[in-house]
Amino acid sequence: MEDLSVLESIFLMAILRLKDKAYGVTIREQVSKTKGRLLSYGTIYSYLDQLARKGYVTKKTGQPTAERGGRRKIFYKLTPAGLQSLKLAYQLQGAIWKDAPAILD
């Protein structure tokens, strides 16, 4: 299994946090918050596509709502593989940054 890139882990964490409310608008908010910069929907969706292709997330279409001009939402959810990768990434990150405060300062 490939290591996650930083942005990929940000996405996966955002989806995980949002639980069953993870769709375009909320994901964009979450990711942008973590990243500190507003990302475009183009970027969001091209990453979501990529994550879905790699099998980290699944898509589920929701009900259409009026405020969306009658369009359905797509809800994203982590797959077990996605969760597994995220855990591995967390361990890896922990290992990387373990003694960082002492050295970096």
Partner: protein, 873 residues
């Protein structure tokens, strides 16, 4: 209104939908709209729209990054494949490319030519509003339609009709001797015109005043080149030129040289007023017609309305005279821009071109480009076998049909782009040659280059698409299994298509060859047929100088003493004069005055028939010994006799209007055998030859010598003693007469070059095809040779198929050429027949050329060692 404002901009939405076609689109748009409506509530319509647009814009790159990246990768791959294919099959590629380049060069040249022909006379600022007056005259039984009009017409039109902005008279004059200090030249391109010529047309002045340059008599305007010829760098204004040794003209202006694409050109422009100095009464002469009249109408004037007013004018000014003559005259307007391509009247300035030729050339250029495209398609389909594996592989790896079509079309477009560059170089090199052949003046300057850009793109795309279409759709249609299966796929699918292409190529080539040959035949026929007079070894000299004319008998006697000169005759006209020929009204005995006939007339002396080798069929020649001849007698030709309805001429008279005669009866003393006074495009026409009516201004000198240059030198020496002020100036009658066929000769050379090109392109294609076929059959040949086949047998095996095609093309081309050329030849009352040998020989020549081309490859394949060919994979 309100309902719409809380909707996001639909255009942005549409843009996105068009560009990105993914199942998540609805969600994407939904998200966008959700946030849009939030921003709309908080910040208002404008902000929300702005936000939406910005979001769409910044989303574009991340969304399409992938597809853009992939197309670049594929493009690189396509280019690489194209290059590899080019290298691997260098021979075919070069054949294809050079054929395409030839075709495109041809097409470009013709486009330039057509553009040049269509540009005639359009450099005048008001070209659309300029018209030439055409006169339709009916006098007796003859009808005359000419662009020639009388003196008072032009000023009358301007004063009577306010819709005419300006009008000018132009008169063409024959050669004049121009002299300044020691510089003496004959100028053959001189006109006289009203000063209003500068108001009707645009001839920009570089020196002098266009308002009054030609107002006074004896003033002249020169073109820059002419001015330089006489005055060098010094200022010509106010200087005096002597014309014909006795008239002094003041130079009042210098204009830019007349562009070549003008239907009339001149080097020297005299003031029209000069013509009235000696003959003031001619100002009001409504009957004699010598001038071209051009009008410039006001922008909103309707030419047909103006034409409608002409009959009343004719009645008012000429009514009584016309009634007396029993004739009628009708004037009409001819648009200036129609003259060069659509007017072919008697007495044109110079022979015009024809829209028919322009059309034919364009058609041929398209044909040749078509031939080159056919070659491309042919070779590409034939070579498709080589590409089959590649295509199969691409398909297996997920290429869609659309990708393949795009790849092949792209490849052929690259080819045609390369070909375009080559063709531009070719055009650049061929231009001088083309100008010489077509008699035009095309340049490869900035305007053409500016044209070239869109033209080149258009041509490249067209050729690329046309040439690549068949291979693209043909190759992309097969199933990958069949293609990867390998050697059994032989490109045979396109066979019938290829056959049709080869046949059509050769039909075009053979038709062009036959056409070239028949035109050549007709030109040779026209030059060599017996004309009823002898044009060889005859010198004609214009001697329009009073001191020579007055003593013409002494001059003749003096010249006759020169050894080698057999006969010297005085006249005012020689055959081949075309539009310059004099026409008179003739009323033969027994006809009423209203039944007069218009005839060509020649003034001549008693040596004319002998000098030109004309034959008398009845009666006698003129004689200086018979005193009554001096009072005016006529010879007529056989056609005239028939026209008169006379059995013979004995004792008959005719009444002649013209040649200084005022309609008194003059006797006809003999009948001349018919001779071709005009070109062979014209029927035999009635001609009368007058004696004792004065007006001789030319000498016809019949010589008999091996050493023409020596004789001419001697003539010039003698002439200096006769008339020191005018250099001896002459032309040869045969080249003068044959100059009438220049347009046919031009057509012939253009046909010849085209048919050469067509056959070269067709053979390039054939060469490519035959080498392909030889390659395909390498193994078969090897096996046959092992089993004992001889080289000739193998050659026949290989060339049979293509030669059958060429044979079929010959059979189709024969009737095509026959009908096309038959209708062309019908323009000539006197024509060389359609010699069947021309058809047979052309057909067999095409077959022979095809055979040579094919057998070159066939022999090569057949002589290869079977061991090598069987090893071949």
């Amino acid at each position: 209104m309100k309902k719409e404002t809380n909707k996001p901009p639909s255009m942005a939405e549409g843009l996105l939908r068009r560009l990105r076609n993914s199942p998540e689109n609805f969600s994407f748009l939904g998200d966008m709209e959700e946030e849009y409506s939030r921003i709309f509530k908080q910040k208002g319509n404008f902000q929300a729209k702005l936000w939406y647009w910005k979001q769409i814009f910044i989303s574009l790159f991340p969304l399409f990054r992938n597809s853009v990246l992939w197309s670049v990768v594929m493009l690189k791959n396509y280019l690489k494949t194209a290059l590899r294919n080019f290298k691997r099959q260098r021979g075919y590629s070069i054949i294809t490319l050079s054929g395409l380049a030839l075709g495109m060069a041809c097409c470009l040249l013709i486009i330039f030519y057509v553009q040049y022909e269509l540009s005639y006379d359009r450099f005048h600022k008001n070209a659309e509003n300029i018209y030439r007056i055409i006169m339709d005259a009916n006098i007796g039984s003859t009808n005359l339609k000419v662009p020639i009009t009388n003196n008072p017409l032009s000023p009358t039109l301007v004063s009577d009709y306010p819709e005419i902005a300006a009008s000018t008279r132009i008169r063409k004059i024959s050669k004049v001797l121009v002299e300044y200090n020691k510089n003496r030249f004959y100028e053959s391109c001189s006109l006289f015109a009203d000063n209003s010529i500068f108001d009707v047309f645009n001839f920009p002045f570089s020196k002098g005043d266009s308002k009054k340059a030609l107002v006074r008599p004896f003033t002249v305007v020169l073109t820059e080149t002419t001015a330089k010829k006489y005055f060098g760098e010094s200022d010509p204004l106010g200087k005096t030129l002597r014309l014909n040794a006795d008239q002094a003209f003041e130079v009042t202006g210098v204009i830019k040289d007349v562009p070549h694409n003008s239907h009339f050109t001149f080097d020297l422009l005299g003031s029209f007023e000069t013509l009235f100095v000696d003959r003031p009464q001619s100002r009001r002469d409504w009957i004699s017609a010598h001038n071209f009249t051009y009008l410039r109408l006001h922008k909103n004037a309707v030419p047909s309305d103006l034409e409608g007013k002409f009959p009343a004018m004719v009645e008012k000014y000429m009514g009584s005279r016309l009634k007396a003559l029993g004739g009628s005259i009708r004037y009409s307007l001819q648009p200036l821009t129609d003259i060069h391509l659509r007017s072919n009247l008697q007495f044109e300035f110079e022979p015009n071109s024809s829209i028919v030729y322009v059309t034919i050339f364009s058609a041929i250029a398209l044909f040749i480009l078509g031939l080159a495209c056919i070659n491309f398609m042919n070779l590409a389909t034939a070579r498709s076998a080589k590409r089959a594996r590649e295509v199969g592989m691409r398909k297996v790896l997920g290429a869609e049909r659309q990708n393949l079509v795009r790849q092949f079309l792209g490849e052929s477009t690259i080819y045609s782009l390369l070909a375009l560059f080559m063709s531009i170089i070719l055009v650049r090199m061929a231009l001088p040659l083309f100008n010489a052949v077509s008699g035009s003046d095309l340049r490869f300057g900035f305007p053409q280059l500016a044209w070239l850009f869109p033209l080149g793109i258009g041509l490249t795309l067209f050729t690329g698409m046309a040439a690549g279409s068949y291979p693209a759709f043909f190759l992309s249609a097969f199933s990958p299994v069949k293609m990867l299966n390998g050697s059994r796929f032989s490109g045979a699918g396109g066979k019938r298509f290829r056959h049709v292409l080869v046949i059509s190529q050769f039909v075009i080539s053979i038709t062009l060859i036959i056409g070239t040959w028949l035109i050549r035949n007709q030109v040779i026929y026209m030059k060599n047929v017996h004309l009823g007079f002898t044009k060889e070894r005859v010198l004609v000299s214009k001697v329009d100088y009073p001191q020579v004319i007055r003593n013409i008998d002494t001059v003749k006697a003096r010249l006759k003493q020169i050894p080698g000169i057999i006969e010297v005759a005085g006249t005012d006209a020689v055959p081949g004069q075309g539009p310059m020929a004099t026409t008179v009204g003739v009323v033969p005995e027994g006809f009423s005055d209203e039944e007069g006939i218009l005839m060509k007339a020649i003034r001549a002396d008693e040596d004319y028939l002998a000098a030109l080798g004309m034959e008398l069929v009845a009666g006698r020649d003129f004689s200086e010994k018979i005193s009554t001849d001096k009072q005016g007698v006529f010879l007529v030709n056989e056609t005239a006799l028939r026209r008169f309805g006379w059995k013979d001429h004995a004792g008959r008279t005719i009444k002649v209007q013209g040649l200084g005669l005022r309609g008194g009866a003059v006797p006809v003393i003999g009948v001349v055998k018919d001779f071709h006074y005009s070109s062979l495009r014209e029927e035999m026409e009635p001609i009368c030859i007058g004696y004792g009516v004065g007006g001789l201004d030319k000498l016809v000198i019949k010589v008999q010598t091996e050493n023409i240059t020596g004789l001419v030198a001697q003539l010039e020496e003698t002439w200096k003693e006769i008339d020191p002020s005018h250099p001896f100036d002459f032309f040869f009658l045969d080249s003068f007469f044959d100059a009438q066929y220049r347009s046919e000769e031009r057509l012939n050379s253009i046909f010849a070059s085209f048919s050469g090109l067509a056959i070269v392109i067709a053979c390039l294609g054939l060469f490519g095809l035959s080498s392909f076929m030889a390659e395909q059959k390498t193994k078969e040949i090897g096996i046959r040779k092992v089993l004992g086949a001889t080289i000739p047998e193998v050659v026949i095996l290989l060339s049979k198929e293509l030669l059958v095609l060429v044979g079929a093309a010959v059979l189709i081309a024969w009737p095509v050429a026959y009908f096309a050329m038959n209708s062309w030849l019908r323009n000539f009352p006197f024509r060389a027949g359609l010699n069947p040998w021309i058809f047979i020989v052309s057909g067999f020549a095409a077959l022979a050329i095809a055979f040579l081309t094919v057998s070159f490859q066939a022999v090569k394949a057949a002589s290869a060692h079977p061991a090598d060919s069987l090893r071949y994979e």
